[in-house]
């Protein structure tokens, strides 16, 4: 059966990458409302790392099984 960590990992990796990229290229003035923090970039990177760890865990378990 599908390991639940795989879809979670994939979704977070995608969300993280999109947010971080958008944060890296977007115009800085939109971050006035987030008190000057480029939240897209920072939170995007956090989500990206989380997503990759989950993908790794899901695949490792799969490999252990086979």
């Amino acid at each position: 059966m599908l390991d639940v960590r795989l879809p979670i990992g994939l979704l977070f990796t995608f969300f993280g990458a999109v947010l971080a990229l958008y944060g890296a290229v977007s115009d800085g003035t939109v971050y006035a409302r987030s008190l000057g923090h480029n939240v897209n970039l920072w939170w995007g990177l956090v989500m990206l790392v989380f997503g990759l760890v989950f993908i790794y865990l899901a695949r490792r378990k799969n490999r252990l099984r086979t």
Binding site: L2, V4, P7, F15, V18, L19, S34, L35
Partner: protein, 569 residues
């Protein structure tokens, strides 16, 4: 109103695709009715635990807890620290051995095994009606909310979300719901954590928040700490914004309502029944307890920040909107803060988190409904000889008509709001005494079926009677109480009245069940093995590593919750 950018739609759209993808991927492993309704009893403990938490984490919970945080302050955490953790520990350590060990496929089915057919029927029918109805009500709330913050049409919001939930449950059954609940759990955490971080920075940390909320409290005529102390002002109902006193709170919420919900509601218990072993089933609520006790940070704190900012602004002005009747619209706390602090991108994530919480709540209701319908109504009364194929088919069919009925309820709610309030009230009466029945049933082997049934019915009547003879605050007789003509007692608030209604219902059910049980013949011991504490072998904990033992986890969870109560006393 919030304006969404392309990137926000991209995130939201991707989420929908993933949710459906999980359903499609699980379709092949959903072959029998056990797969569909109980995930083939194959879910690892941590997954079941997060689903246990998430199924209860509907949008109404998230939006509503933030609203209460704004309205009542940190005392709202009582719904978590005493209103959930002890009951979750109890169900894991003491009750799960009977739920999981008896091989019952649902909570009503346990009642059938332990007591008799009529007790099961009463519970199954009221529960099935209630789940369909509550998912309709939360759909209605979602439709209104998305209309208010995004300008989406009511019908589009409802049909899109209903269709997605329908599709993934239809394909993958309970496993699909559980997997998506776990995904939704992480999304809710990811969407709300940065919001709390930004809000807290804006108000000047905990200290700044305390100072601002002292002002809020004084404006409402309370002591300065009324919004930031959880127990100190509970001595009298007049000194805290909830209008409750410590005894009603501890007994009504902490004991009757909390244990009634977390230990008997099939919506959450089903997640533990799907676990892959007895030990995993027992750990399910205990694993859920740890994130649960931290959730006030994510759902109550934003409300407290919103009211603090409304009282005295942060860097840029923020005000909760005023409703037609002049009171503040507390429900808008989280949606407005998302728009206030989040740039495009994060806003999409925040909205995805809200949609996720809505869907997890709805899926919880739908999977509980289709199981109870199929096993406890269809198989019990309609088609006793149903084959596994019939059951699987009925599971899918009932998913479709359960959701259709919810959609109809959502539309009905737009026109007949009073009927909805009335129905919710009736369900509250039916639920209030339940825990007394389970407690006696599991721990006193003398309890009989007649005792349980008559106890339940009289508990429900006691709840109705108490409600009909009392009134909260300055309310007029009617839906708020007092409808029996005479008003014997005025409660300081609706919440106090609710807590005491529950206390009366529970006590009546407890006493009547005992009395009737003494007057009727109990089942033979042999029939009760595995169903009652004194006739069931204790699950062994010796072979399990200490940090995986339910007993250890329960003690740690309760100790942690005591510490939280003490810190925010």
């Amino acid at each position: 109103m919030l304006r969404l950018a392309v990137i926000d739609y991209l995130l939201l759209g991707t989420y929908f695709v993933f949710v459906l993808g999980v359903g499609v991927a699980l379709r092949r492993s959903t072959r029998s009715s056990t797969d569909f309704f109980l995930s083939g009893r194959s879910i690892p403990a941590w997954v079941a635990g997060l689903a246990f938490l998430s199924a209860n984490l509907g949008a109404q919970e998230v939006i509503g807890m933030a609203a209460s945080g704004a309205k009542y302050g940190i005392a709202t955490s009582h719904f978590y620290w005493i209103g959930a953790i002890p009951a979750m520990a109890f169900v894991g350590v003491f009750m799960m051995p009977f739920y999981y060990g008896s091989r019952a496929r649902s909570v009503p089915e346990y009642l059938r095994l332990r007591f008799d057919e009529k007790t099961r029927g009463f519970n199954a029918i009221s529960f099935a009606t209630m789940t369909v109805f509550s998912s309709g009500i939360s759909m209605y709330a979602l439709g209104l909310l998305l209309g208010a913050i995004l300008g989406w049409s009511f019908s589009v919001s409802i049909f899109v979300s209903a269709a997605i939930v329908l599709a993934y449950i239809f394909l993958g059954g309970l496993t699909s719901a559980i997997y998506n609940e776990v995904l939704q759990f992480f999304l809710i955490v990811a969407g709300l954590t940065p919001l709390v971080f930004l809000g807290m920075q804006d108000v000047g940390g905990w200290q700044g928040l305390t100072q601002r909320l002292a002002l809020t409290a004084q404006q409402h005529g309370f002591a300065a700490g009324a919004w930031t102390d959880s127990w100190r002002h509970m001595g009298s109902p007049a000194s805290n914004p909830m209008g409750v006193e410590w005894f009603g709170l501890a007994m009504g919420l902490g004991f009757v309502l909390s244990f009634g919900y977390w230990t008997t509601d099939f919506l959450v218990v089903q997640r533990a029944m799907a676990a892959d072993s007895m030990s995993a089933a027992r750990r399910t609520p205990l694993i859920a307890a740890f994130p649960k006790m931290l959730f006030p940070i994510l759902v109550i704190l934003p409300g407290m920040i919103a009211i603090a900012l409304t009282t005295s602004s942060g860097q840029t002005p923020f005000k909760l909107p005023v409703k037609a009747d002049g009171s503040l619209n507390y429900d808008m706390s989280i949606p407005l803060m998302l728009g206030h602090y989040f740039p495009p991108g994060m806003l999409g994530l925040g909205l995805t988190a809200l949609m996720a919480s809505f869907m997890s709540g709805m899926a919880g209701n739908v999977t509980a409904f289709n199981t109870v319908w199929t096993y406890d109504i269809y198989q019990a009364y309609v088609n006793k000889k149903a084959t596994d194929r019939n059951l699987l088919w009925m599971g899918r069919a009932s998913t479709v008509f359960g959701i259709a009925l919810s959609v109809i309820t959502a539309y009905a709610a737009t026109r007949f709001n009073n009927i909805m309030d009335l129905l919710q009230l009736v369900f509250a009466f039916v639920n209030a005494p339940l825990f007394a029945t389970f407690l006696l049933g599991m721990f006193w082997k003398r309890t009989t079926g007649h005792g349980a049934f008559i106890g339940l019915v009289s508990g429900t009547l006691a709840a109705a009677l108490h409600h009909g003879l009392t009134l909260p605050g300055t309310a007029l007789a009617g839906i708020k109480g007092g409808w029996l003509g005479a008003v014997l007692h005025h409660y300081p608030s609706e919440m106090a009245q609710n807590f005491w209604t529950a206390i009366y219902a529970w006590t009546t059910c407890f006493v009547v069940t005992i009395l009737v049980s003494f007057a009727t013949t109990p089942k033979a011991d042999a029939e009760l093995t595995g169903l009652v504490y004194s006739l069931t072998e204790r699950p062994r904990e010796e072979g399990i590593v200490w940090y995986k033992r339910p007993g250890t986890l329960a003690i740690v969870a309760i100790a942690a919750s005591v510490v939280l109560n003490a810190v925010f006393f």
